[in-house]
Subunit: 69 residues, 2 copies
DNA sequence: GCATAATGCAATATATATGTTACATTTGAA
DNA sequence: TTCAAATGTAACATATATATTGCATTATGC
């Protein structure tokens, strides 16, 4: 589950800890999301977007994988 | 946690059950998300978007509540 | 070099998203 | 009306997002 959280976070000069504090989760949660090892909830995605001044599409959108369904 | 899932779903003429089948969850999960009683995961949000041919911003974006943080 | 901040990551615990089953209510077509 | 499809919802079980704690590694400035 790739995303652009790390890029967006560094663009607004926040450390993982600072972003975590802003959105009310732990640093580990931010770390795992950036590493693509977590599937965050919508609310957390929105809070991250607010913290980095971007929209859901800008930070979390992924084109559909081509699985013909 | 309001969203536009119900609107988007009816626009593409899917029942809750059909949408649930398409994205691989149960009808109850779709129902609760539409009612705003669930905080879905990003992956599920993306799958719903793919199923209704819309983007995250179109279906799930919410302006930040004004809480001065 | 050394010290400190920032980050990666593992183990275990907790909260909650989702599944399963079942039944009730609503809606719309015949 | 009646019947079936669509939807709401409740109780309980399971999977997984997130917390907690702790320690290791990697920058980066002094």
């Amino acid at each position: 589950m790739e995303n652009k959280v790390k890029i967006a976070r560094t663009q607004v000069n926040l450390t993982q800890q600072q972003l975590a504090d802003k959105v009310g989760v732990t640093r580990q949660t931010i770390s795992l999301i950036e590493k693509g090892k977590y599937n965050p909830t919508l609310k957390l995605c929105l809070d991250i977007c607010y913290a980095v001044n971007k929209t859901l599409d800008e930070v979390f959108w992924l084109e559909r994988e081509n699985d013909d369904k």
